[in-house]
Symmetry: C2
Subunit: 211 residues, 2 copies
Amino acid sequence: EAVHGKNLAVAHENRERFGRCGILAANLLSSPGAGKTALLEATLRDTHVSMPSAVIVGDLQTDNDARRLGRWGATAIQVTTGDICHLDAGMVQRAMAELDLSSLSVVYLENVGNLVCPTSFDLGESLRVALVSVTEGEDKPLKYPGAFKWADLILVTKIDLAAAVGFDRDTAITNLKRVSPAARILEVSSRSGAGMEQWYETLRGRLPARE
Amino acid sequence: EAVHGKNLAVAHENRERFGRCGILAANLLSSPGAGKTALLEATLRDTHVSMPSAVIVGDLQTDNDARRLGRWGATAIQVTTGDICHLDAGMVQRAMAELDLSSLSVVYLENVGNLVCPTSFDLGESLRVALVSVTEGEDKPLKYPGAFKWADLILVTKIDLAAAVGFDRDTAITNLKRVSPAARILEVSSRSGAGMEQWYETLRGRLPARE
Ligand SMILES: Nc1nc2c(ncn2[C@@H]2O[C@H](COP(=O)(O)OP(=O)(O)OP(=O)(O)O)[C@@H](O)[C@H]2O)c(=O)[nH]1
Ligand SMILES: Nc1nc2c(ncn2[C@@H]2O[C@H](COP(=O)(O)OP(=O)(O)OP(=O)(O)O)[C@@H](O)[C@H]2O)c(=O)[nH]1
Ligand SMILES: [Mg+2]
Ligand SMILES: [Mg+2]
Ligand SMILES: [Zn+2]
Ligand SMILES: [Zn+2]
């Protein structure tokens, strides 16, 4: 509880700072391997010139994700959490200190792969994105409702594999709408490019107004 | 820390009880949707007559998994954890009270989908099984080392999809062996049946000796 309150205070500071700098801060959440990094790799490749971007990525171990993300010219900061199962606002604040925020439009926060714990830790984001892949099963939204209720935007990923895995799209979308009626839902593939333009448009629509 | 010590005490009680009843207790861990329930469905269908079995399954919400598992004639007890991201020994102890342990050879403990937190909570199991699917990516063992170091047995699941997702088997196996040199590794598909006989044989080989 004390940990939680302390996190909220730091999250508020982050939110203020992102806001003053006119930055869209997006928190990306999903289970391990649902495609967060692949999505951000394609996103940076396609948009980081028109929308100057940086990424703060959390993992228990390795800098694999930061190295993948850094190849597209944007700054990618790896936070290694050890055995902590989520990013928290303090980790994000320390990473923000390494960024030139005045030069950026978007900061992506790729959370540790986990459909449970990260929703309890506000990072100071202005957009909450939950990813669920067609390979995980159509009932995941019902079984892990917290992550989907938390989200403003839900991305159904790897849709290029839908036929190969026998994905029941109607059931999946019905389940998502039941758990998270207010969220926008997009189906995407980082591999084929399907749905990616709508994802980019959603991001552009969420950029804070220029001052 | 206090929570952890208390859990260990209850885990010891569970381990003692399973041991006295000559039961193999298997803790199955993986990310959401890696195929734990599908594996257990096939396992119960194929072996619960020769190896009397029960399942205790943990989920945040719903009894979907217990209903799927209960169709094969074995007792399936659903534990709903609310927002707790792991099974603990106390939850397992309460569920054990609903089982006729003297009639069983195996009790499967299907953990909450989470590659991080469950390894901190001993349930009293005698076999630790980590599942990772071919759809999650070859670097998951390096990025979530705790789960793979914890495991006695690692199952690479959904291998029927390996070609469709471009699975790099050599890299995946190399990564698994690096992180968990002592673990046995099996490649399985609950869908095609590939590797399932070796999984059943491994289970039979781990049954406590008859008294
Ligand atoms: N077919 C297909 N595969 C994808 C797609 N997106 C990601 N993948 C694959 O899915 C696996 C996991 O992708 P990652 O981008 O590492 O997933 P992640 O969510 O960042 O994983 P963590 O950061 O470890 O939680 C990799 O093997 C990717 O190649 C997609 O759109 N289509
Ligand atoms: N192709 C293929 N799909 C599989 C296999 N095993 C499971 N699946 C699919 O993967 C999805 C998830 O399977 P589950 O059995 O629910 O996975 P789980 O690990 O129990 O998920 P949670 O309990 O929610 O963590 C479902 O759509 C299954 O049909 C397999 O061997 N091959
Ligand atoms: Mg990643
Ligand atoms: Mg399951
Ligand atoms: Zn956690
Ligand atoms: Zn946890």
